[in-house]
């Protein structure tokens, strides 16, 4: 059998892993397995341009490096089981693939509350929701969950002319990663554009064309979107004695529990960030598939070719963003570590604003909200954040863990 690496998962993480395996010197076979029928595509536009109907589905396909032109793509059939001792993965359609090396890149799926509500994770989800929201004017939408996805769907739906209500048990939207001040400013921007928020409330019942809240409020609902977080796709790894309690547990080089022939990338990987501490966490930011793929590919190729793993422990600088109503929220560093000491660095909460998050008087995270100018101003703090990261980290563990769950 010729040498083969199987990448399970054909989204951003799987594609970047294949490219980075080539960049790390792997010249033998690469097979990429994907559950969806689509080639890898970019998810951030799904809740914005694709949902709004301003971008065609084809425009979100990810460009590929020429180095992976000879990779084999097996799409439309998810992996169903893997035997790590035998080094063989079996797909739902019965195909079995032997491998020398394995990359776990199976990502997440939305947590569900009902069988018939909408969710937003895949391209097909976004197209289906666009169709539902534009079926007739003034569609009444209830969004359950005021995190990243819920807020972006609410903003896009308002632009489409839908009547929008958002429900969340927390007192403010996106309050976990942002803290109270900025979350309140974000709420104001939503309310000014006509979205209505029912905060501190939970859904008691989903009924035909309406949603009933715990205080008795009845919200008319032509369309319901469930945006209440995600679950890692790890069932196919069952039976190998792995810790799959929250994604795939990895070491500081993204090896699956230290196995020399298996690595994990993207938001299914639970890894320690040496910039902060030794606690493994999953991180659901867009930048993570690229960051993890680069490091994991080097680890795996070194291991399979008998070389030493010659790179420092994985230590990415977190960044995330969200676009709502043509305004951007841009975060760099770990704001969730500094929500007890929040200071406005530039601007004010009613306009373009840059907010600093401090721990022990040291800047640990910066979030900008507003127009492009605010993004550029936020970016100027990146250098200082990348330098302070290592010094703040020793006792940050539980709160960062809290954030990575909320910050979806």
């Amino acid at each position: 059998m010729p040498a083969r690496i199987v990448v399970v998962g054909a989204s951003l993480g799987g594609l970047r892993a294949a490219e980075q395996l080539r960049a790390a010197g792997w010249t033998a076979e690469i097979v990429v397995v994907g559950a969806e029928p689509h080639m890898p595509y970019n998810r951030p536009p799904l809740s914005k341009e694709v949902l709004a109907g301003t971008a065609l589905a084809g425009s979100v396909m990810l460009r590929q490096r020429p180095s992976v032109a000879d990779a084999v793509w097996l799409l439309g059939s998810p992996a169903s089981t893997v035997d790590l001792d035998a080094r063989a993965v079996t797909l739902a359609d019965g195909t079995t693939l032997d491998f020398d090396g394995l990359v776990v890149a199976t990502g997440l799926r939305p947590r569900r509350l009902t069988d018939d509500g909408h969710v937003l994770r895949t391209l097909d989800d976004a197209i289906r929701l666009h169709t539902a929201l534009t079926a007739r004017p003034g569609t009444r939408l209830v969004v359950v969950g005021a995190g990243f996805v819920g807020c972006e769907v609410a903003a896009t739906a308002r632009r489409l002319g839908a009547d929008v209500a958002v429900v969340d048990p927390l007192p403010l939207p996106m309050v976990g990663p942002l803290g109270e001040q900025l979350a309140a400013a974000l709420l104001t921007r939503h309310e000014e554009r006509g979205a209505r928020f029912h905060l501190g409330r939970t859904v008691t019942r989903f009924e035909r064309h309406q949603v009933v809240l715990d205080d008795g409020t009845v919200l008319p609902a032509d369309v319901v979107v469930e945006a209440v977080g995600s679950r890692p796709n790890t069932e196919w790894l069952n039976g190998n004695g792995l810790d799959l309690s929250d994604g795939v547990l990895c070491d500081e080089h993204l090896r699956v529990e230290g196995l020399p022939f298996a690595v994990a990338v993207g938001d299914v990987a639970r890894f320690p960030n040496a910039r902060y501490d030794s606690t493994p966490r999953r991180v659901e930011h867009w930048s993570i598939p690229g960051d993890t793929a680069k490091h994991a590919a080097r680890t795996l190729v070194a291991s399979l070719t008998g070389a030493a793993v010659d790179q420092p422990a994985f230590a990415p600088l977190p960044t995330f963003w969200s676009d709502q109503y043509g305004q951007r929220l841009q975060a760099i560093g770990a704001p969730q570590l500094g929500t007890d000491d929040i200071r406005i660095l530039e601007g004010d909460l009613h306009g373009d604003v840059i907010v600093g998050y401090h721990r022990d008087s040291r800047l640990v995270g910066v979030v900008g909200l507003g127009r492009a100018r605010a993004t550029a101003a936020t970016a100027r703090y990146r250098m200082v954040l990348s330098e302070t990261g290592k010094r703040i980290a020793t006792d940050a563990g539980s709160r960062l863990g809290h954030h990575t769950r909320l910050g979806q």
Partner: protein, 62 residues
């Protein structure tokens, strides 16, 4: 090496600026500018910049 940025697609995230500061920059209004024909020695950085663009608006030719 030739770099092409689709400025209609670009949304001025600035991730490319950190990957390849010799090639990309944001002006004070947050608008992207770039060097269209950077030195070959910057290829790795430019490819990294293309990878980290959230809009996939950067193309590296040759």
């Amino acid at each position: 090496m030739r770099v092409v940025v689709d400025l209609e697609t670009c949304q001025d995230h600035g991730q490319c600026v950190f990957a390849a500061p010799e090639v990309f920059h944001l002006d004070e209004n947050g608008k992207l500018g770039y060097v269209p024909e950077p030195d070959e020695s910057l290829r790795d950085a430019v490819e990294e910049a293309a990878d980290v663009c959230p809009l996939q608006a950067i193309r590296v030719e040759d």
